[in-house]
Amino acid sequence: MEAAPLHEVTQLLIAWRNGDRAAFDQLIPLVESDLRRLARVRLKGERRDHTLQPAALVNETYLRLINEKAVDWQDRAHFFAIASDRMRDILVDYARRRARAKRGGQTIRISLTDADHFASEPLPEIIAVDEALKTLTAADARQGRIVVLRYFGGLTEDEIAAVLNLSARTVRREWKSARAWLYSQLRAPVG
C-alpha cells in the first residue's frame, strides 16, 4: 500500500476544518493506512541497526504534519488523537491475535511476507495497559489521553504538551502518576 501523499492529508484536514464533514471520512482511512503501513514495516523488523527508532519513525509522520503551517492547532490535536487511537487499536488487536494464536497452539506456516502469521509470545502488557487505561480514562479523561498519546502514539512529553495545550510540567506530572497507577494495576502483588 502506498503512503498517502502528505499534501492530500493536509488538504483534507483544511477542508474538514472548513466544515466539510466528508473530508474527515476520507481522512481517517488515509491516516489509518499510513499507520498500518508503518506498523507493518516496523513489525517485520527488517533491520536492527537502524538509526531511527520506531517511535521516531512514527513521530516523523506526525512531525510532518506539525510543521504544516496550513493546519491549525485544533486540527493537529484532533489528528494526533485519532492517529494515536488508531495505533492503539492496531497494536492491541495484534497483541490479542498473538495471544489467541498461542492459546490455540495451531501450527503456523512460516512466511516472511506477513508478520501476522507468526506464532508468537502474547504481548500481555499491551493488552493489560489497554484494559487498565479504560478505568483511568473513566476517572480522568485528560490523563488517559496523555497515556494514549505517549504510550500508543509515541509522542514525547513536549509534543503532548503542544498538542493538548498544556505545560510540559503538567504533562510530566500527570504522566508520572498515571504510570505509577498503571504499574500498581499491572505489577502489584495480588491481594
Partner: protein, 996 residues
C-alpha cells in the same frame, strides 16, 4: 474508581513521591491509620519508582521487539532447502543471520534470510546474485565465500561460509574507548582494502562498507560480507531522486545508517568504486578515533555533515596516531571523488607502506635509529676536498666504486682478501652504497678489458666517469718492519683528487682485518654518514667473519669465482673456508645459495640453518639476509621470510638482493604484481645482476605475461647471461604458445652442456602436457637417471615424483606408483615427499600415504607451502578416493589463498569434487581458474585436462555451446596424444556418444 477518589489518590501519591525514603515510611504509617486500603494503593504506586523502564518504551517498539524475537525463533529448527537452521547468530547489515547445517555437504554454514521487501523484484535479485557470485568466485581470502543464493517458498536466503569470529562493530565495542591502535586498525584496513581491490578489479562495488559488514576471524583474518547486497536495498530510482529525503522513508525503505555513506551516495547520485574508498576511509577513522567521522543526532544532520563538514583531526582522539595515517584517511574522505584515491589499490599500497613502517619501528625500537630517507642527506657536515674548489659531497644517492687493494707486502694471503673485507665492512652501512661488483665487471667488458682485470685506481676513476659516480676508494697494504700499514683513500670520481685518507697500523698479520675495520669506520664518518648510523651498523670484520685470515681468504677467493660465474669452483673455496673455520656464517650462507642453484634444496636448507644459528656473528646486513634464507630455505615459513626481506629492503633500500628476496617470496604467495615490481626494481638497482632477469622473467611467466617475460629473457641473453633457468623458462613459454621452433631452439642450446639432462625433464613435461604418455615416461627416465648419476639425488627424486603425478593423470597407475616409490628412494625432501604422497593417494595406495603425511608435517611444521597446499591437497585426494567429495572440498579450504604455488592441483581436485556432487557451475569456475592462470605451471597436463573438466561441468549445467567448445579445445591440445589413452577414449565417447 470514581473521579473523586482518583483525584484523592493522585494527590496523596504526589505528596508521598516528594518525600525522602525515611519520611515516606512515617507518612505511610499515618495514612494506614486513616485508611488501610488507600495506603496499599498509594504504596503500590510508589513502587513504580523502582522500575524506570516500565512503559518507557512505546507500545510500537515493544511489539516490534517481540515480533522480531518470535520471527527469529520461528525459523530455528526448521529446514530451508537442504539447510537445517540451528540457531540465530545475529543480524547483519540486512536480515537475520542463522547458523545452519548444510545437510548435503555436512557442514556448518551461515544463512542469511533476506527481508521480503528486497526480494520482490526478481530482476534485481538476479542482478544481485550475479554480482555476489562473481565476487565470491574471486576466491579472495578477505571476501566471504558464498555457497548459494536461493529461495524456498518465497523466502530468499544467502548461504555463506560460517566464519567464527566477530564483526568489526563488535570488536570496536569491546575495545577500550571503542578504538584500536593504529597498528591494529591498519592490520584490518589492509585486508579490507585488499578485498576491495579484488572486487573492484572484477568491476564490482560494495556500496555499503561499514563495521557490521566486516567479520574478523579469531586468527585476525578479515572477511568482507555482503558484496553487492546494497543494490537490493537501494531505492529503485536512486539515480533519479536527488533529494536527501529520497534516501530515508519516502519510499517506505529505511536505508541503513548513513554514517559511512559517500557524499555522492548521500546526494543520491550514481556511485562507482570510489564510494567504497570513502567508506573505508570513514571506517578507518572510526577504528582509530573511536567514533565515525560524520555523526549527528539525526539522519538528516549526519547526511548534511557528510556533504559539508571536515572531520575533526584524529589527534583529538588518539594523540599518538601517525601523521601519515591522518593523511591517508583524509585523502580517502575527500568530498569530491576525483580528489580521492582513485583506486583501492593505491589506497592499499599506502596502507601497507605505513603498516610496514610501524612494524619496523616496533621491531627496531623507535629510538635505535631513523632510516635514512631515500635521497635525503641527514648527515654530518660535508667534507672538503683537499686542494679542490668543488664541494664534493657523497649522499646516499651516490654509489662508490672500490678499487682493488694494492698489495705491497708480497704475501699472497692479502690478495683479494682486503678488498672483499672492505666491501663487507662498507656494505653494512645503510648510508653508503657500493657500485655493484657485477656492474664493475660489465663496465670492464665495455672498456674492452677482461672482467677479471685488476681494478686499479685509474680504472676505478674511469668507471666513475662512465657512470657519473662521485667517488671511489683505493686501498693499499704495505709492510713496516714486522707491522703492516693499511691506507684507505677516498677520491673524487670525476677528477681523481683525494677527498680523504685514513691510515691504520696493524701489529701483526692477525690484526689486519681489525685494522681494516677501524679504517673503514673512520672513512664512513668522513664520507658523511652520521655517527649514530655508524654505531648502529658497525661490527668489526673479525667478529663478524672469521679470525682466521686463511679462512677469510678462501671466502674472498670463492666470492671472486662466484662473480666469475664459476660456481663449482666457488663451492670448493667456500667449503675450504668452513673447514678452516666452522663458525664462519658467511661461508655457510654462500654454500646454501650455491647448492640451491644446483638443485639441492636439502643441502641448501641445511646450510641456511647453519648460517642462521651463527647469525649473532654477522653484520646486520648479513643477518637480515641470513634470516630470510633461513625461513625461505629451511623452515619454509614464507610469511616470516617476507618479513625479513621487507626489513632488509627497508634498511638497505639500494641493495638489489632485497627486492629479489621479496620477489621469490611474493611469487610463491601468488602476489605476482608485487613480485614483478620488485624484479624491475632489482634490475634498476643493478642492471648487470644476471639472476634478477631470470626471477623477473619467471614472475612475469607466473603472471601469464609471456610476451614481457620473453622480452626480459632476451635482454638477459643479450648481456650473455646464459643461465640454464632462463632457457628452461623460454622452453616453457614456447610450449605454452605452441611454438615448436622456439622449443627446438632451447633444446639445441642445451645439447652438449654438462647439465644437458635438464632438457630431458623439459621434454617429459611437454610430452605429458600433450597426452603422450610413453614419450613422457621415456624422457623422464633419462632425466632421472642422469640426475642421479650426476650426484643430484634431490633433483632426480623431484623428476621421478613429478613423473609419478603425470602417470596418475594419464592413468598409468602401476607405473605412477613405481615412480613415486623410486623418487622416495632417491631422496625424501621437500620436493619429493609431497608429490610422491599425492601420487600415491591418487593411485589409491592410501596405506602408504599416511606415513608420508606424518613425515611431511613433522619435518616441515612451519612450511607455508607444505601446510597450506600440499597437506590439504593430499588429504583431499584421499577423501576423493573414498568418494567423499564434500570432505575433499572441506580439506581444500586452506589452499585457496596459496594456489599460485600449487601447480593446479587444488583447483583440479576441487573441480573433480564439484563434478562428483553434480555442481557444474562451481566445477566450471575451478577449471576456468586453471585456464586463466597457465603461467603458474605452463607444462602441467592439468591445463589441457581443465578443458575436459570444463566440458564435463558444462554437461552438468546443460551449457551446450560451452560444452562443445571445451571438448574441442581439449581435443586440439591432445591431437597428438597417444591414441589408446583411456582418458582420451572416454572423452571422445562423451563428446560423441554415437561413435563410442
Amino acid at each position: 474508581m470514581t473521579p473523586e477518589r482518583w483525584q484523592h489518590i493522585k494527590a496523596l501519591y504526589e505528596e508521598a513521591a516528594e518525600l525522602s525514603a525515611a519520611a515516606r515510611s512515617a507518612w505511610l504509617v499515618r495514612l494506614e491509620a486513616e485508611d488501610a486500603a488507600l495506603r496499599r494503593e498509594v504504596e503500590a504506586m510508589l513502587a513504580a519508582d523502582q522500575d524506570s523502564r516500565f512503559l518507557d518504551e512505546p507500545a510500537l517498539a515493544q511489539t516490534e521487539r517481540a515480533a522480531e524475537t518470535e520471527r527469529r525463533a520461528a525459523l530455528i529448527g526448521q529446514r530451508l532447502g537442504h539447510y537445517q537452521v540451528l540457531s540465530a547468530i545475529g543480524a547483519g547489515g540486512m536480515g537475520e543471520i542463522y547458523l545452519a547445517r548444510d545437510l548435503q555437504l555436512e557442514r556448518e554454514v551461515a544463512l542469511k534470510v533476506l527481508p521480503a521487501e528486497f526480494t520482490t523484484d526478481a530482476e534485481r535479485v538476479r542482478r544481485f546474485a550475479r554480482e555476489a557470485h562473481a565476487v565470491s568466485a574471486l576466491n579472495h581470502p578477505n571476501i566471504i565465500t558464498i555457497h548459494e543464493i536461493g529461495a524456498v517458498e518465497n523466502i530468499h536466503y544467502i548461504v555463506t561460509e560460517y566464519v567464527v569470529g566477530e564483526t568489526l562493530r563488535q570488536r570496536l565495542m569491546a575495545a577500550p574507548q571503542q578504538r584500536l591502535t593504529a597498528a591494529a586498525a591498519l592490520e584490518l584496513a589492509v585486508q579490507i582494502a585488499a578485498a576491495l581491490v579484488a572486487a573492484h578489479e572484477a568491476g564490482i562495488t560494495h556500496r555499503d562498507i561499514k563495521p557490521e559488514n566486516v567479520m574478523v576471524r579469531r586468527d585476525g583474518i578479515v572477511k568482507v560480507l555482503d558484496f553487492g547486497l546494497a543494490k537490493l536495498t537501494e531505492p529503485q530510482a536512486l539515480e533519479a531522486t536527488s533529494n536527501v529525503a529520497g534516501l530515508s522513508t519516502e519510499s517506505g525503505i529505511v536505508m541503513g545508517t548513513p554514517r559511512y555513506m559517500s557524499p555522492e551516495q548521500a546526494r543520491g547520485e550514481r556511485v562507482d568504486a570510489r564510494t567504497d574508498i570513502f567508506s573505508l576511509g570513514g571506517l578507518l577513522y572510526e577504528m582509530v578515533a573511536g567514533c565515525a567521522p560524520f555523526v549527528s543526532a539525526t539522519t538528516g544532520e549526519t547526511i548534511a555533515a557528510i556533504l559539508r563538514d571536515e572531520p575533526l583531526p584524529l589527534a583529538q582522539y588518539a594523540t599518538n596516531s601517525p601523521g601519515e595515517l591522518e593523511r591517508i584517511i583524509s585523502q580517502a574522505l575527500r568530498k569530491e571523488r576525483a580528489d580521492r584515491y582513485q583506486t583501492a589499490a593505491a589506497l592499499l599500497a599506502d596502507l601497507k607502506e605505513l603498516k610496514q613502517q610501524l612494524e619496523l619501528q616496533t621491531r627496531l625500537g623507535e629510538a635505535a635509529f631513523v632510516v635514512p630517507p631515500s635521497g635525503g642527506a641527514s648527515r654530518q657536515p660535508s667534507l672538503q676536498p683537499q686542494g679542490g674548489t668543488t664541494n664534493v659531497v657523497t649522499t646516499n644517492k651516490d654509489l662508490i666504486v672500490l678499487a682493488d687493494f694494492e698489495n705491497k707486502t708480497g704475501e699472497a694471503v692479502f690478495d683479494g682478501t682486503l678488498k672483499q673485507g672492505l666491501a663487507m665492512q662498507l656494505r653494512q652501512s645503510p648510508f653508503l652504497s657500493l657500485f655493484p661488483e657485477e656492474r664493475v665487471r660489465h663496465t670492464l667488458r665495455l672498456m674492452k678489458l677482461s672482467p677479471e682485470e685488476c681494478v686499479t685506481a685509474k680504472i676505478a676513476q674511469e668507471i666513475c666517469l662512465r657512470h657519473n659516480l662521485k667517488a671511489f676508494i683505493a686501498g693499499s697494504i704495505a709492510p713496516m718492519g714486522s707491522h703492516y700499514v693499511i691506507t684507505l683513500e677516498a677520491l673524487q670520481g670525476q677528477t681523481g683528487w683525494p677527498l680523504e685518507t685514513e691510515q691504520v697500523e696493524a701489529k701483526s698479520k692477525e690484526q689486519v682485518l681489525r685494522a681494516l675495520s677501524q679504517a673503514a669506520a673512520r672513512l664512513r664518518a668522513t664520507l658523511g654518514e652520521s655517527l649514530s648510523s655508524i654505531q648502529q651498523f658497525d661490527k668489526e670484520l673479525e667478529e663478524t667473519t672469521t679470525e682466521k685470515l686463511e679462512a677469510f681468504q678462501a671466502y674472498a677467493l670463492g666470492y671472486e669465482q662466484t662473480l666469475n660465474g664459476r660456481l663449482m669452483d666457488a663451492i670448493q673455496l667456500y667449503r675450504r673456508a668452513v673447514e678452516l673455520d666452522p663458525d664462519f656464517s658467511y661461508a655457510w650462507s654462500m654454500l646454501s645459495i650455491h647448492h640451491s642453484v644446483f638443485g639441492r634444496p636439502g643441502l641448501a636448507a641445511e646450510y641456511a640453518e647453519k648460517a642462521y644459528l651463527l647469525k649473532e656473528r654477522v653484520s646486520d646486513y648479513e643477518q637480515l639476509q641470513v634470516t630470510f634464507r633461513y625461513h625461505y630455505n629451511f623452515t619454509g615459513d614464507l610469511h616470516k621470510a617476507l618479513d625479513a626481506a621487507t626489513l632488509f629492503k627497508r634498511i638497505y633500500p639500494r641493495t638489489s638482493t632485497a627486492p629479489i628476496d621479496l620477489l621469490v617470496a611474493y611469487d610463491l604467495l601468488g602476489r605476482h604484481e608485487q613480485a614483478v615490481a620488485e624484479g624491475r626494481e632489482a634490475i634498476q638497482l643493478n642492471p648487470n645482476f644476471a639472476p634478477a632477469y631470470f626471477y623477473l622473467g619467471r614472475s612475469l611467466v607466473r603472471a601469464n605475461r609471456f610476451a614481457e617475460a620473453k622480452d626480459i629473457f632476451q635482454q638477459a641473453l643479450a648481456q650473455k647471461f646464459d643461465l640454464t633457468n632462463i632457457h628452461a623458462a623460454l622452453y616453457l613459454i614456447a610450449c605454452a604458445e605452441g611454438d615448436a621452433a622456439g622449443m627446438q631452439q632451447q633444446l639445441d642450446w642445451a645439447q652438449g652442456r654438462p647439465d644437458e639432462f635438464v632438457a630431458f625433464d623439459w621434454q617429459a613435461g611437454a610430452a605429458a602436457c600433450a597426452g603422450q604418455g610413453r614419450k613422457a615416461q621415456e624422457f623422464a627416465r633419462r632425466a632421472i637417471d642422469a640426475a642421479a648419476r650426476g650426484n643430484t639425488q634431490e633433483l632426480a627424486a623431484r623428476f621421478a615424483t613429478e613423473q609419478a603425478l603425470r602417470g596418475v593423470l594419464l592413468e598409468d597407475y602401476a607405473q605412477a606408483e613405481a615412480d613415486a616409490l623410486h623418487g622416495l628412494q632417491l631422496a625424501r625432501g621437500r620436493a619429493s615427499l609431497p608429490r610422491a604422497a599425492l601420487a600415491l593417494a591418487l593411485c589409491g595406495a592410501a596405506q602408504q600415504v599416511k606415513p608420508l603425511i606424518d613425515e611431511l608435517s613433522q619435518r616441515y611444521p612451519e612450511d607455508t607451502v607444505s601446510n597450506t597446499i600440499w597437506l590439504p591437497t593430499i588429504r583431499a585426494a584421499l577423501a576423493l578416493q573414498h568418494g567423499d567429495a564434500a570432505q575433499a572440498l572441506e580439506q581444500l579450504q586452506p589452499t585457496s589463498s596459496y594456489e599460485a604455488a600449487a601447480e593446479f592441483w587444488p583447483q583440479t581436485l576441487r573441480g573433480q569434487a564439484y563434478l562428483q556432487l553434480g555442481r557444474g557451475t562451481e566445477a566450471a569456475a575451478e577449471f576456468q581458474k586453471i585456464l586463466a592462470q597457465r603461467g603458474h605451471a605452463p607444462l602441467s597436463p592439468l591445463y589441457p585436462l581443465a578443458h575436459l573438466g570444463l566440458a564435463r561441468a558444462a554437461t552438468l549445467t546443460g551449457a551446450t555451446a560451452q560444452r562443445r567448445q571445451a571438448y574441442e579445445a581439449f581435443f586440439v591440445l591432445w591431437q597428438e596424444a597417444d591414441a589408446d589413452l583411456p582418458l582420451l577414449l572416454a572423452a571422445q565417447r562423451e563428446f560423441q556418444p554415437s561413435l563410442g
